[in-house]
């Protein structure tokens, strides 16, 4: 489920028209038992989850944004220090906007649910990007 669907309505509407990937992703999020949050004010389309990993709140975030003609999914954690601009990257993936493979999208979300545990790292996952990731 998306627990802040109402709050993120504008963002959801904006991205629903940006490719099959977002339609499929939103369908999976809505049908899931996990509690996902969409960040209404983030740059790009950001998802986090309300669960605990090793007894602490899950800090994982997936940021989707467009780079040239591709959609990039960037997996990261924010710093614990309030004023820090550090982002702790775990890598990500690049796909075309028409991408709609449900199993792969589910594997990304599983990785998020695990708090980015290395044992849940999805296949075809890039560890590094040779370009700047927007804040």
């Amino acid at each position: 489920m998306i627990f802040n669907e109402e709050e993120a309505k504008e963002k959801i509407t904006e991205y629903s028209d940006k490719g099959e990937i977002f339609k499929t992703l939103l369908k999976i999020l809505r049908n899931s038992e996990e509690k996902y949050k969409i960040h209404p004010k983030a740059t790009g389309f950001e998802i986090s989850i309300d669960n605990q990993v090793k007894g602490k709140p899950n800090r994982g975030i997936i940021k989707f944004f467009f780079h040239k003609d591709k959609v990039v999914g960037f997996f990261y954690k924010k710093s614990l220090i309030p004023h820090s601009r550090d982002r702790f990257s775990y890598g990500g993936m690049e796909v075309k906007p028409e991408f709609s493979d449900e199993n792969q999208i589910k594997s990304w979300l599983k990785f998020l649910v695990s708090g980015f545990s290395p044992s849940y790292r999805p296949e075809k996952f890039r560890r590094s990007f040779p370009f700047d990731i927007p804040e």
């Binding site: 954690k77 220090i81 702790f88 990257s89 980015f116 990731i133």
Partner: protein, 416 residues
């Protein structure tokens, strides 16, 4: 309970990290937290004042183990204290303020702190477009490292030479840096070529000491070329002395570079430049302690300077879930390190104004040894050397034209 001395406190903070109390106003008082390069800089920069010397330390704060640390950073009135909650001992520390140039932009509109950051009292810059090991499928990155994860995220992906020069110039003006440390990942055997234009530009346009940390070239003459271009110091990070650990945790270095290449470069550079001008960089806290001690013996035998990092299981690294090393083990390592420098007369603490926060410098480890006759003789020699070396460093920190070609083959034909 006896209070730890500054060197002991530094070691324990590296091993255990620190929690930050709500009383702290680090947004106003501290440098920004900047996880660049391999990831070690993500901590809190502090200065632990001491009688023998002040110690700069980058204390882990973000990692899981730091959340369980017995140490708490607290602000009481205008001062910062490290409180050991096991015994309520209180240590006064200083928080270095953020340089103004961190928030200035280069002429190409890049934020200077995205080009380089202070790591102690020197400027650290990761010059290459990430590390080639990360782009293999599967990746061959070193398992402790997050370099490939940081570039483009916390640092700009490509560092223009002009941006590096402008940033270093501001850091020299305001932060009084004497040393710029250039760092690069794996560049498919072109590591010296990637580094060269930055070295030359810094010498010609800024006038600072320049250190290079690079994957060593198999063609050892390229080291000589970089020396001619102005490189003052070389670091070779071979990380683990035990060949099994080298293979297991450093797949790229094992398959594409080989441990022997590091040893050859270290020996060649030390022979060429003299004692203390090359560093063998290793990580303590992963391989057995005996291997770390062997590494210190080997590095100091070549005349090089042992730079030992305490293993930090940084967020996002493949080794994120590994435990942070124990204080007791690290105490053994750094005591041994300082004694080895004394025994082999490796110069320490000679260069003006270089304090390193990411590692325990040999000079920091003087707090860990007994002060016997050898200690005093060695320190007397170092103090004399420091005075005698002043004109040399003054000359080295002057801007000067480098009439050396940036094409290594051209240099080889003319000068080698």
């Amino acid at each position: 309970m006896v209070k730890l001395n500054p060197g002991e406190l530094q070691l324990d903070l590296f091993c255990k990290g620190i929690r930050i109390d709500e009383s702290c106003t680090l947004d106003k008082d501290a440098r920004l937290f900047a996880r660049t390069r391999a990831g070690l800089g993500s901590g809190l920069e502090v200065i632990i004042p001491g009688k023998l010397k002040d110690i700069w330390t980058n204390i882990p704060v973000e990692e899981d183990f730091a959340q369980n640390s017995p140490y708490l950073l607290k602000k009481i009135e205008d001062d910062y204290f490290v409180i050991d909650e096991r015994n309520n001992l209180k240590y006064l520390i200083k928080i270095p303020e953020e340089p103004r140039w961190y928030n200035e932009k280069t002429s190409s509109e890049t934020l200077m702190s995205m080009i380089g950051v202070m790591q102690g009292t020197y400027l650290g810059i990761y010059v290459s477009n990430s590390c080639g090991f990360w782009y293999y499928d599967p990746p061959m990155n070193c398992k402790f490292c997050t370099t490939g994860l940081n570039v483009g995220v916390n640092e700009v992906a490509e560092k223009k030479i002009e941006d590096v020069v402008e940033t270093a110039t501001r850091a020299k003006e305001e932060s009084k840096i004497t040393f710029v440390h250039l760092n690069s990942g794996y560049n498919s055997g072109r590591d010296a070529e990637v580094m060269a234009p930055y070295v030359k530009a810094l010498k010609e346009e800024v006038g600072v000491l320049v250190g290079v940390q690079l994957i060593p070239p198999r063609e050892l003459w390229k080291i000589d070329w970089l020396i001619d271009l102005g490189a003052d110091h070389f670091s070779y990070c071979y990380e683990f002395h035990n060949p099994e650990y080298f293979e297991k945790f450093l797949p790229g270095k094992f398959k594409l570079v080989r441990q022997k290449t590091f040893f050859d470069a270290l020996e060649h550079t030390s022979k060429k430049m003299g004692k203390g001008k090359a560093s063998g960089e290793i990580i303590a806290g992963v391989e057995p302690i005996e291997d770390t001690l062997k590494a210190i013996d080997y590095i100091t035998d070549t005349g090089a300077f042992p730079t030992v990092c305490i293993f930090r299981p940084v967020i996002g690294a493949d080794m994120e879930d590994f435990p942070s090393p124990s204080y007791e083990d690290m105490y053994v390592v750094f005591r041994y390190l300082y004694k080895s420098c004394i025994k082999k007369n490796i110069p320490t603490g000679i260069v003006p104004n270089i304090e390193v926060s990411l590692v325990v410098l040999p000079a920091d480890a003087k707090y860990l040894v007994e002060r016997d006759l050898r200690y005093y003789i060695y320190n007397f020699k170092m103090n004399v050397l420091k005075i005698l070396a002043k004109p040399y460093f003054k000359y080295k920190m002057k801007k000067r034209k480098i009439n050396i070609p940036l094409d290594p083959m051209e240099w080889k034909e003319k000068f080698y």
